[in-house]
Symmetry: C2
Subunit: 423 residues, 2 copies
């Protein structure tokens, strides 16, 4: 017989218990922060009709990275590559009958058929939290605040991360009023802005010239990208004060400052977010580790997406932290807590003690303890060795003497201390 | 623009927050019981190489119910239709270096391209808990005990469910020694035993005759199926006392009795479990609701499956409760607890109270409360209406008077009672 490989498929991984512990720490923290902000958990199916990704997306998720297949009736389905189209679909079905705003979150897995690299697996997990039915700046701020509180819940050191804020309405204004980019070139120019820092300026310049932009337009774009603060942008382009996106940025920055987040938040004019559906505030949270600078996650406002489903359009703003970049952040900044199993082990020292062992285990489980029992008779030495290898915290010894005295002996596996307890 | 449907794909469903609450109650209960028995959580990818399902499976999951697709390099993948091959694959990679026995559980989603029906969706969730590296009866009993404790954790009424126990070694013995079924017919006869109660006896008889069985063989099979207890089976077929499977059943039944589970456990000779990989103890947990009698979930021993991966074979026994049949059980027996959101709402009664509202929200969240804040100014009447529709438990009123006095007014939305609290 040919043996099969015991590796998981490329771009995916098994989470054995030690790894699961780290992921669960991340998921539990996400769930705790979202729940404390009154967000309610939901879940959608792992598959969607493929059409919903083809309609309005970006970053290639509507195309070659999608995993398509057909169900029994020949309907084209895809494993979800992101949550936003799914949650928009779901909310469009309940929007009319639900009090607004609607606050939702989910923790779910996704799949993209792309080249795996550090921080990017084919299968990945994301928190998605979204607020529907409110267009105010305060709604934007709540989404930003939750992003910040999620990061702060992991007790990161000062300057370890930065939230970069921008606004698509500002980008639109720059392209239209200041760089005078034509409608046809706009999508392509936005993509170039998005990748501005990844290339030499000369390469950027060539690509913009190829799109028909003149020297002055390109200079304006460069001056825009290099504006390090709202103040600098305003002094470079005084007319920007009339732009709605710029006004939103200023108010948002001020309120986040008043809420005490100023150490963590910076305006950054070339934060775009890849997805085409963003149409207002956008942001990215960066890992500032000098050896591993990278965007960890982001979010923004996507009021227009709901048009795809049903007749109603509605305001939407949200964010989606992913497990893998956050895991790297926690590891690099040494923020992963120590695994403590808090499990007791009661060995089966003689076969005939089985019911006694079960009785003790049952009474401790009723008190909330985690208890493993020995299934086959073994010596105390072997039992201690097993408990040690498994990382159990205590061994409860139930031998002939203990049973005669109506007690058990509790041995702490860390300190080695023993004490007798009535049973 | 053509509007897209806002329904999820056929055979799947959205879990909006009220439904998610029920599923989470099920998942949390699973996790709690498994953790208290010292099982450790893991997770494998949503996709696997298709070959692992084609090797040794059953119940069609290796065939037409699988969703296949290809990754970038043309590898054939499938969405997992069950966990057992995945966890066996994963454990085969760590078995040699881990202290035995290994206790594992996971809560994960699966997909089968089959006809949806009540209790059976295309996408479904399962708990899988398994014990690797121990062949003893006590290991079988632990798996059965967890199945029983999971059911009992939902506080079911007496006689609402039954765990039916059987053993594949007994089935093999019956077919070989008592019904003398030839090797070629055996797989088919096992399938017929599995479905025995779903058809008229005449139909069963015809199918068995077509396989070449004689009247006496068929009578013996019928007598076997109709044996209601180990005692009756023994008096029908005295030679069965030598069968290893029968011995295991007797010992297991006796120990479960001593552990106090006798009300819930019955021996049933035609419990087979569809999967071909079971090779020892098998069981099924039945919902006894007279209007909805059905197998909810099952499990058993599958020592042989590990041979597929790597050189080592190892003992394995486990079970996989599913979300959908359990949800129906809870609903039909009225066991779903009332949803209590325990969320406070602090309305924004004037735009300029925003920072005060945030300050109160923040201090309450630090104490562990769930707090929703108002994003746009609204009247107290509208705020109470919103909180009522959302099912929030309390409204915390922060008006001009309250702010002047350094307090807030807490209104309980159930009782209507109000009290002033220092802030």
């Amino acid at each position: 017989m040919n043996k099969l490989s015991n590796n998981p498929p490329k771009g995916t991984r098994d989470w054995e218990p030690e790894e699961f512990f780290v992921r669960k720490y991340i998921f539990d923290t996400w769930r705790k922060v979202c729940t404390q902000f009154g967000y309610e958990e939901y879940l959608t199916p792992i598959v969607e009709r493929a059409e919903i990704y083809k309609a309005k997306s970006g970053e290639d998720v509507g195309g070659k990275e999608l995993m398509f297949f057909e169900d029994k009736a020949g309907r084209e389905l895809a494993i979800r590559p992101e949550m936003t189209p799914s949650v928009t679909r779901m909310v469009s079905g309940i929007y009319g009958k639900t009090a607004k705003p609607i606050r939702l979150f989910s923790i779910a897995n996704f799949f993209r058929n792309e080249k795996p690299q550090r921080g990017r697996n084919r299968e990945f997990w994301q928190l998605n939290y979204d607020l529907f039915g409110d267009e105010s700046i305060n709604a934007d701020i709540e989404i930003l605040q939750i992003a910040l509180e999620i990061m702060l819940a992991f007790n990161p050191p000062k300057k370890s991360f930065t939230l970069y804020l921008n606004n698509r309405i500002l980008i639109d204004g720059i392209l239209e009023e200041i760089a005078s980019v034509s409608d046809e070139s706009r999508v392509e120019v936005v993509r170039i802005l998005d990748k501005w820092e990844k290339y030499e300026f000369e390469a950027i310049e060539n690509r913009l010239e190829a799109l028909g932009l003149e020297k002055r337009q390109i200079e304006n774009l460069q001056k825009f990208i290099q504006s390090d603060s709202a103040g600098e942008l305003e002094s470079n382009f005084p007319e920007i004060v009339e732009n709605e996106g710029f006004k939103q940025i200023k108010e948002t920055m001020q309120k986040l400052d008043e809420l005490g987040y100023s150490d963590w938040v910076v305006f950054k004019p070339n934060v775009i977010r890849g997805f085409d559906y963003y149409d207002g505030m956008v942001f990215e949270v960066f890992d500032n580790n000098p050896e591993n600078k990278r965007a960890m996650f982001g979010g923004g406002r996507y009021n227009g997406l709901a048009e795809l489903f049903g007749s109603q359009s509605f305001p939407a703003v949200g964010s989606a932290p992913g497990d893998e970049t956050l895991r790297i952040f926690l590891e690099d900044w040494n923020l992963i807590p120590e695994l403590d199993k808090k499990t007791c082990f009661i060995p089966l020292l003689e076969a005939e003690f089985y019911l006694k062992v079960q009785e003790l285990a049952s009474s401790l489980r009723q008190k909330g303890d985690n208890v493993v029992i020995g299934l086959e008779p073994q010596s105390l030495g072997k039992a201690l060795d097993f408990a040690n290898k498994q990382g159990y915290s205590k061994v409860l010894i139930l031998g002939e003497n203990e049973i005669a005295k109506g007690i058990y002996t509790e041995k702490d596996m860390k300190t080695g201390e023993q004490r007798e307890i009535q049973f």
